[in-house]
Symmetry: C2
Subunit: 236 residues, 2 copies
């Protein structure tokens, strides 16, 4: 099966959580919108007026005749097929639950630089962004990363579910890398409080396929159009 991923071509964004799963599994896939005329193909897919199951927004995965959107939903579908989630229902629900917790956190990360509206520029909401980012680091990061630290402490292995890597480990890698990029000072200070989370990030980065991907041109660099953006004044 050749998968087709449709996502904004200039950013990692939410598409990156899907890319990491496809890359780790060595799956056969095309990052459609990054190809020549790819944006036109994506727009066509999104604007089919009478599509039976039209997506609300990218990322979108085409798998044969199936068209699936929403990051966590795509990963729920791919998990068993790429051997990146448990086989039993309870295990798959647990991985999905963790992925949805990550999704919630990703929204909060985005809100640190766009608390008023995504329709406005960052420069139009800087004072609000500064207050949001401060509260985010005071309350939310400790709660969220602390939760994942405890999961790793009790997992009985190197990964969130134990000895076997799943797609939530890849997503946590992305979150930690993103926080390092967007908030280098704050994150450096905070890192000592979540050593297992940091170790998970480093372990994922060293997996052969992930390392090859990160070194390739397929990996879009972090930038100030994505979810994780570096604005010096938000990093104190």
């Amino acid at each position: 099966m050749r998968y087709e991923l449709y996502y904004w071509p200039m950013i990692q964004g939410r598409g990156e959580f899907v890319r990491l799963a496809l890359e780790e599994a060595g799956a056969d896939y095309v990052d459609v919108a990054r190809r020549k005329n790819g944006m036109a193909a994506m727009m066509k897919l999104m604007e089919q007026k009478r599509a039976k199951r039209p997506p609300f927004a990218p990322p979108i995965l085409k798998a044969g005749k199936l068209i699936i959107a929403q990051t966590a939903n795509i990963l729920l579908y791919l998990g068993p097929r790429l051997d990146l989630s448990p086989r039993d229902e309870a295990g798959r629900l647990w991985v999905n639950q963790l992925q949805l917790t990550i999704s919630d956190f990703v929204v909060e990360v985005h809100d640190t630089h766009h608390p008023i509206s995504s329709a406005l520029y960052y420069e139009e909401q800087r004072p609000a962004a500064k207050r949001n980012a401060a509260a985010f680091w005071e309350h939310r990061v400790p709660k969220f990363l602390g939760y994942f630290e405890r999961l790793l402490e009790n997992s009985g292995g190197n990964f969130l579910l134990g000895r076997k890597l799943t797609y939530v480990d890849l997503s946590m890698f992305q979150v930690v890398g993103g926080l390092h990029y967007a908030f280098p000072k704050r994150m450096q200070r905070f890192a000592r409080r979540v050593p297992r989370v940091i170790a998970l990030h480093d372990r994922v980065a060293q997996r052969p396929r992930i390392a090859a991907y990160l070194a390739s041109r397929r990996r879009i660099p972090f930038n100030e159009s994505g979810i994780f953006r570096y604005y010096k004044e938000l990093d104190q």
Copy 2:
């Protein structure tokens, strides 16, 4: 199977999406935290230090030995068991995709009154809330409700998936009811642009079990601690 739902007892919140599914199906369930000593039971469940699969936050569903969190994940589990989602995988993914789109929107609704931080009072973020709510109604409500309006137009039946009600119909009922409560003036003006969405809300409200639930004390009234809050100045 007697289900146990654990959720904050004073608000509808995210727990309401689960309650509506259980009520529509006539399922045997206990709303644990609303019982005597119920909050203590919920806190105990959440603070089990060495739980194998600890939830990050309510709502939490206990189904036999399974403990499931994250609203969309709980509904994914309940859907086939309560006959509120399609039986085939593609259909279940589609319902889940729509539920996740609703989840995203619910976060945006909450951000209208708490754009800076949930750790601060509304009164500490009023100017930002005003700007957020204005952008929300200019950009997000038309996009989101317009999407669901088109789905209903093409569904070939009275419900989002066609002729059979699923749990996303119940969730849309809750969203529309919530917008009416939080933004009565804005919503009244907007309603004419999404007649099918409004009709879906009214149709769900009239289902015998939902009507009985809404009239019962089991339904917590909307209030200013929940997701949908009425603040006159945000309603223009």
